[in-house]
Amino acid sequence: MSGFSAALAAGLALLAAAAVVDLVAGVRPRPLRPVPYLLGAAGSACLAVGGAGALAGHQARVWPAGVLGPGTAGLTADRLSGLFLVIAFAAATWVSLGFAGWAGQDGPGRRGLGASYAIALGAVAVFFVARDAFTFLFSWELVTGAFYLMVGFERGREGRPSAAMVTLAFGKISGAALLAGLLLLAVRSGSLGLASFAHVPAGGARTTAQVLLLAGFAIKVGLVPFQVWMPRGYAAAPGPARAVMAGVAVNVGFYGLWRTLAVLGPPPGWLTGLLLVLAGLTAVLGIAHAAVQTGLMRVIAYSSVENTGLILAGFGVALVGAAVHSPQLAAAGLLAATLQVIAHTAAKSLLFTAAAGITGGGDDDLDRLRGVAKRAPWRGTGLAIGGLTLAGLPPTAGFVSEWFLLEALMQQFRVPGLGFRLVLAVAGAAVALTAGFAGVTFVRLIGLVVLGRPGPGGGTGRAGAGGPDSGLGGRCAIVVLGAACLIGAALTPLEIRAVAAGLSPVVPASVTGGALKSPWVLQPVFAGFSIVSPSWLWLAMPCLFLIVALLTLGLSGRRLIRVRRVPAWRSATAGVTGSSRYTAFGFANPTRRVLAAVLHTRTAVRPIAPAQPDVAHLGYESDVIEVTEEYVYRPLLRPFAMVTRAVRRLQSGRLDAYLGYMLIALIAVLAVVTALS
């Protein structure tokens, strides 16, 4: 067994140990609370090392074929698996440390969270290294189960049980889609091994399987119209569990999509077009809602939806490239999507780790959380860096990945055929619109919440309530993940080499490597179109800043450093009741109005009967609607309820009825098997 295989096995074992420790020891005694998460961190590190080895081409296999049963192909990591193992578990290590810090400070009240966290990570790892359909599906269902456990952990609080049910429902639907697709392929190819599915002849079965597989993975990552579970689920999970779900575990969906492309090749053109349009729609819908939410967790959750749209837009470009047999275009799209996955993983984990415990148990209304940087500087810095990355501002990693994405979409002129060009153009426009509104969203987050002054505004207000600053684990996590977001941009050429190696099952590494025009200058795989150099940017920007600062200092004499503190200028007013500064709600109001078509904003000003003469006599309300929920799911609720009521009659509670059902099922299976063989 090579070293990397040992690393993989050790990682899985440590995660299992973490689960056991949590279930056995629980949350007492208090000093032992971080132990499961520390074990999980160690396990994640081992898994990341193993994945790096697999990425480099070494053999990394946990156990050979046949161990888990006939037809299973064992757990082996190839380059693509290695790539995703590195991405996910490098982040997971630090998220686990942050988790350990949080658990030590104000951790869970009872056992179970550590176990579900370990199960989630373990299932993700197994999913990445699965080689046959059975293990694939098993780990997928484990991930769904772990999500359900994590989201429903604080089931005593309002809204959590329903969020957990919705998460479970969507997870189950995705699992069902995957099951149907994989079984279809297994029947056609005659074996359960994933590699054998590549030989299924083209036709209705293959196409249906592709649709089902893509749909299943799309549900997990939150493509429109399946994104409704994400905001609820992410907001309901406790503390850093959100980072695990949204930063680490969501990559299973992307890995699945990449693997589908590798195994089955490009889907038919109409599916690619649909995917691109839906990706653009997801991005716009996600950022529109993120810009107007009033709760911090929801803002970050909707940003995940937006990023899904962006990543899938890049993936769509790769599908188009594969369909028109242009490996360069496929490479450009996949590279952009993978870089966005990396940036998203780092930034989302950072955001949710920094936001864990920020509310101190209260609600996460943005106006209540103003002035985070003053009372919790580490958290504030984490939020700021994560926000800048997701907004795509240079010189962060988010800027590089969005640049690649837009450049890949701009290659649409190289594609023959009007249909693909149109959908690529639509997706490109949607991505550009999203980038703009992402700026607005994160300006609100960083400017008002992180940098704002605590209190209701205008003069002395009560200090914003909230939890304490992160502990040691949290600080380590914020430092490393922040560095990944920032310095990672400067090291993009190294990332591209690694990603090129990782994508080799899909596109040759030499093609993807064409994104490196020279050691530190990048281009979108096609030469002569455009270049960017984030590494040089990281040198040039601080230098420019320094030059300007020195010039200003020099030319202004010593007057620059003299500071006079005065109250803010407010038109010399005597004061107003309530806030006189922009609230987070108010800052988002122009977006509510401008995007009223997407958000279906409703506002109303109603006279209310005042209790006393000098009390307010008008009430103002404003609300946005989630269009998918309103127009796709709400109409389905009634027929669904009717069907449930009808089916419930089967649950008669009578033993003879259940025995009868089993007998019928057995006879039907026997009949089918006999007929088919």
Partner: protein, 286 residues
């Protein structure tokens, strides 16, 4: 096409102060003393019943100045004073009602030209200012030193401390194409944080004391304050009152006083340039 419309009438802008402007030169300022020791009778104490109605309308007796000399009673704000038999008129109190000019055209007339502003309150008294030349020179030099950096480009901020609305029109007129103070490097700014010159109008309504104070504190150094209008200089007709402090000098330190009710735009411009030291001392005179 608005752009072409604007070109139709050619250049409307005055060239003052680089070249003389006839409207500026003929502009009516506050009343002034033509003959400080008038020959005719009228300076002695006279009983109200014996007033010669040919000289002063009984209706026009200033009721608040009862007990003063007859000449002094002409002025409703008490700007006219007799000192050692010589007539003194405090232009800082003159509301340009014209009663003194109508009653005694031999003694009183209208000051003409835009140079009505002064650097000190006492400097507004005619014909002999109530200020020593040394103090005036000191004020002038101090102002010049303070505004050394501001000379060619300044930003104005305006605060209304209880005016009647006319001074605002005259200040706003500075930005129309006829006066166009942008050509002199004078601009209006929205925030006192960017302002160099504070123009205060109005008699000093007590409700505006705090806001005026806040505005003044919000301005960075160096800054100068110009009290625009007789109301701002001395309170005019509105003071004394329960609601008015009688001029803004009690709230903020004023550097240039501009009398007039309201002062013409040329007078306000002259005061701004005086404050900046761009009008030579010889022309300024006060």
């Amino acid at each position: 096409m608005w752009a072409l419309r604007g070109l139709r009438n050619g250049v409307l802008t005055t060239r003052w102060p680089a070249r003389p402007d006839p409207y500026a030169a003929a502009g009516r300022g506050p009343a002034t003393v033509l003959d400080e020791r008038p020959a005719e009778a009228g300076l002695d104490q006279i009983d109200t019943e014996q007033i010669d109605t040919k000289q002063i309308d009984t209706e026009q007796i200033n009721t608040e100045q009862m007990g003063s000399e007859q000449l002094e009673r002409i002025c409703p704000t008490g700007a006219i004073r007799l000192a050692d038999g010589a007539v003194r008129l405090d232009q800082g109190r003159c509301i340009q009602c014209g009663r003194c000019v109508a009653a005694r055209p031999d003694v009183f007339g209208w000051a003409e030209g835009p140079a009505v502003g002064g650097l000190s309150r006492g400097g507004l008294v005619v014909p002999e200012i109530d200020e020593t030349p040394e103090r005036l020179a000191a004020l002038r030099d101090g102002l010049r030193e303070r505004t050394a950096a501001l000379r060619r480009s300044v930003h104005l901020r305006h605060v209304d401390a209880g005016s009647d609305g006319t001074e605002e029109w005259e200040i706003l007129a500075l930005f129309n194409p006829v006066y166009d103070v942008h050509r002199l490097g004078i601009f209006l700014t929205a925030s006192p944080r960017h302002a160099d010159i504070l123009l205060v109008t109005g008699a000093g309504a007590r409700g505006m004391t705090e806001p005026l104070r806040r505005t003044y504190d919000a301005m960075p150094d160096p800054k100068i304050v110009i009290a625009v209008g007789t109301d701002a200089v001395s309170g005019g007709l509105t003071a004394p009152s329960y609601a008015v402090t009688g001029g803004v000098a009690a709230t903020v330190p004023v550097d240039v006083f501009v009398p007039g009710s309201p002062p013409a735009p040329f007078s306000i411009l002259h005061a701004v340039l005086l404050g900046l030291g761009r009008i030579a001392p010889m022309e300024a005179g006060r």
